[in-house]
């Protein structure tokens, strides 16, 4: 009689033991499958979150290196001039070719008078025209005011790389000047030195400022007065031969988990690192994914705990049963069946029950997993502090070009409310593989005492 047949006959004839073991295996596989399914679901959520939130690496002029800056006395006070290597398009192309970098946004800086429209008036020093700082961008969608949700585009479109003399204005400025999409405004550089022309800009988009507007502001520092323009417009306004990225370049990555590796690769590129500095930022992802990360950690512990408890229970039950089966073991040994073959029979018996129990766990886990996931997620979310984004050491990315902090609208932040759990056949396959391994381990451990005994000793204990 084959081992498989012996095992099969044992399973169908020892009904009470079979049912009991079936229940243990069903509970074990249900918990493991539920844990794996929740883990996979949180992983999927984290992936889509990473892709939507992203992370960035900023390349900027190194302000800490005094050698890059020249200070000279001017009529209006001390003038500071950058004399180091500028960030060029060639540098940008080198970085964009690094695997995992998906986009970039270079930021230029200027200061203009409003020639045929009015800014929102703030504290004035009595100038003839109101002036305001204006950034030029490669792609305004990635501009930190928008990524931090301080600005929200409510009309029109974002500024793209191939734009020429396009501008985004605030809804407040649009309302005050009765401006709409397609209208033009004229600005002029307000620097004292040089002769700067009037430059006409076409309104392609209107944004709404979501931050505080009541606090004391000068015209220049009021965020509603930001005119966001393309680099070609900035070149003409500032009368520059080349595009200059005075405020650095932000590089965006596909997966924030890869950000350290990408930053390391960028650091190894042939760039003038005496003049440039690199700042890594995946804080937005870290903040919104905090609950998912905590949940995943908890799930891993639950799965490990479940495996340890299940294996312990299995070993305990099987040890007792195998001890009770010493009589049978002795008989089988006396008729020449090897110890290995006997243990194999015990393994096959449990596996036969497990095949059915694990299969059924697909359904029990489907019923349980969403509820368990919601319960754990709520527990984690309750114990999780409201996420806050930490500023980098120098805070540069979160400072307006006027040196003011860009407000962060956490109410607009994309948060994970719950995790959609689906039990899929792949996870069930994991349970089968893992379960089979645990069963082999448990039966082997439970059989040790009997297997170590000599056949004669087992048989002598029988009589």
């Amino acid at each position: 009689m084959s081992t498989w047949k012996r095992a099969f006959l044992y399973v169908i004839r020892k009904k009470v033991k079979t049912v009991l073991l079936f229940c243990v295996l069903l509970a074990m596989s249900t918990f493991i499958l539920t844990g794996l399914s929740i883990y996979k679901a949180t992983d999927d959520s984290a992936l889509s979150l990473r892709q939507s939130v992203g992370g960035s690496i900023r390349l900027e002029l190194d302000e800490s290196n005094e050698a890059n800056w020249r200070y000279q006395q001017a009529a209006g006070g001390m003038m500071v001039e950058y004399v180091g290597t500028p960030i060029t398009d060639k540098d940008i192309q080198k970085i964009i070719s690094v695997d995992g970098v998906k986009a970039y946004n270079g930021i230029g800086d200027g200061d203009v008078y409003a020639k045929d429209f009015d800014f929102i008036s703030g504290f004035s020093f009595g100038a003839e025209f109101d002036d305001s700082r204006l950034p030029s961008v490669t792609n305004s969608e990635y501009f930190n005011f928008f990524t931090r949700k301080a600005f929200q585009l409510i009309e029109g479109r974002h500024i793209k790389e191939d734009d020429d003399h396009a501008v985004l204005i605030s809804s407040a400025v649009a309302e005050k000047n009765n401006l709409k999409l397609g209208d033009t405004i004229t600005v002029q550089c307000c620097f004292d030195s040089g002769d700067y022309p009037d430059v006409e800009l076409t309104v392609v988009g209107i944004y709404e400022y979501k931050g505080d507007t009541d606090s004391f502001q000068t015209t220049s520092t009021d965020k509603r007065n930001r005119l966001i323009i393309d680099h070609k417009a900035m070149q003409e306004i500032m009368q520059r031969d080349e595009i200059q990225y005075d405020n650095g370049v932000d590089f965006y990555v596909d997966d924030p988990r890869e950000i350290d590796r990408i930053a390391k690769e960028i650091k190894n590129l042939d760039l003038d690192w005496d003049c440039f500095s690199l700042t890594v930022d995946n804080s937005a992802y870290e903040a919104v994914a905090a609950s998912l990360t905590s949940m995943q950690r908890l799930i891993v512990w639950l799965i490990v705990g479940c495996i340890v408890v299940s294996v312990s229970i299995l070993i305990l039950i099987l040890s007792m049963w195998i001890k009770q089966r010493r009589y049978e073991t002795g008989i089988l040994l006396s008729i020449g069946i090897t110890k290995g073959n006997i243990v194999f029979q015990y393994i096959v018996e449990v596996l036969l029950i497990a095949v059915v129990a694990f299969g059924l766990s697909y359904f029990t886990s489907s019923l349980l997993s969403q509820g368990v996931s919601d319960l754990i997620f709520n527990q984690v979310a309750e114990s999780q502090p409201i996420p806050e984004i930490e500023l980098p050491d120098d805070g540069s990315e979160y400072l307006d070009i006027t040196g003011q902090y860009i407000p962060y609208d956490s109410s607009n932040m994309e948060m994970v409310e719950s995790v959609q759990v689906n039990v899929n056949p792949n996870n069930l396959l994991y349970v089968y593989v893992l379960g089979a391994f645990l069963i082999v381990l448990s039966v082997s451990a439970a059989s040790i005492t009997v297997i170590q005994m000599k056949p004669k000793k087992i048989l002598s204990q029988m009589d």
């Binding site: 049978e328 002795g330 089988l332 069946i337 009589d463």
Partner: protein, 207 residues
């Protein structure tokens, strides 16, 4: 040529007192042997050594001229010898037919019928059979394994007189009609008298 030989076999549980002290003998096919002795004298130990359930401290057990240790004890138990125990040693979740099929090199049903079990009895749970019937199943299992040697440890110890006589008759048939070497361990002189050769184990020696 003898099917089994015992050569200067010594066995000790604690390496101090020898249970078997350098015994030697030869056992032939077609004969029934009885090993007599008091409780604890080492007769069951001798049977265990012949059956490869244990190994002697010194000496050799030969089967067909080969050391059973070299043949492999599990292999020896599977292919060369069959056991019949006092307590029948049947597996409780198998029917008589399935118990016999465990070792069967021959078809179980004719053998079960030969030892006196009906077809209906062969399908019952073994625990629902009488002691005599269970011992018949054990004998059938030994016969179905088609080995040349049958080792029986107190095979009638749990049976009434009539049934014991029937079992002895079957075992004698195994030796004389089927040309097997049947070795019975017993403390019953009456049973031993039925054997072709009687050995006594006394003070570690085979007399």
């Amino acid at each position: 040529m003898s099917i089994m030989e015992i050569q200067k076999v010594r066995y000790s549980y604690d390496n101090k007192r020898n249970v078997l002290n350098g015994i030697s003998t030869a056992l032939d096919e077609g004969k029934m042997y009885a090993i007599l002795g008091q409780s604890g004298c080492g007769k069951t130990t001798l049977l265990s050594l012949l059956g490869g359930l244990d190994s002697p401290v010194d000496g050799q057990i030969l089967y067909d001229g080969q050391d059973i240790k070299k043949l492999g004890l599990a292999n020896h138990r599977k292919n060369n010898v069959a056991f019949i125990f006092q307590s029948y040693n049947l597996i409780d979740y198998l029917t008589p037919k399935e118990n016999v099929a465990l070792t069967a090199k021959l078809s179980p049903q004719p053998i079960l019928e030969r030892v006196g079990l009906t077809e209906e009895e062969c399908k019952r749970n073994v625990l629902k059979l009488s002691g005599g019937q269970q011992q018949r199943v054990a004998i059938a299992r030994a016969l179905a394994s088609d080995t040349k040697v049958i080792l029986a440890d107190e095979p009638t110890g749990n049976l009434d007189e009539d049934t014991a006589a029937e079992i002895i008759s079957i075992l004698k048939g195994c030796a004389h009609e089927m040309n097997k070497c049947v070795i019975i361990v017993t403390h019953s002189n009456d049973l031993a008298k039925q054997a072709d050769t009687i050995f006594r184990v006394k003070k570690g020696k085979l007399i």
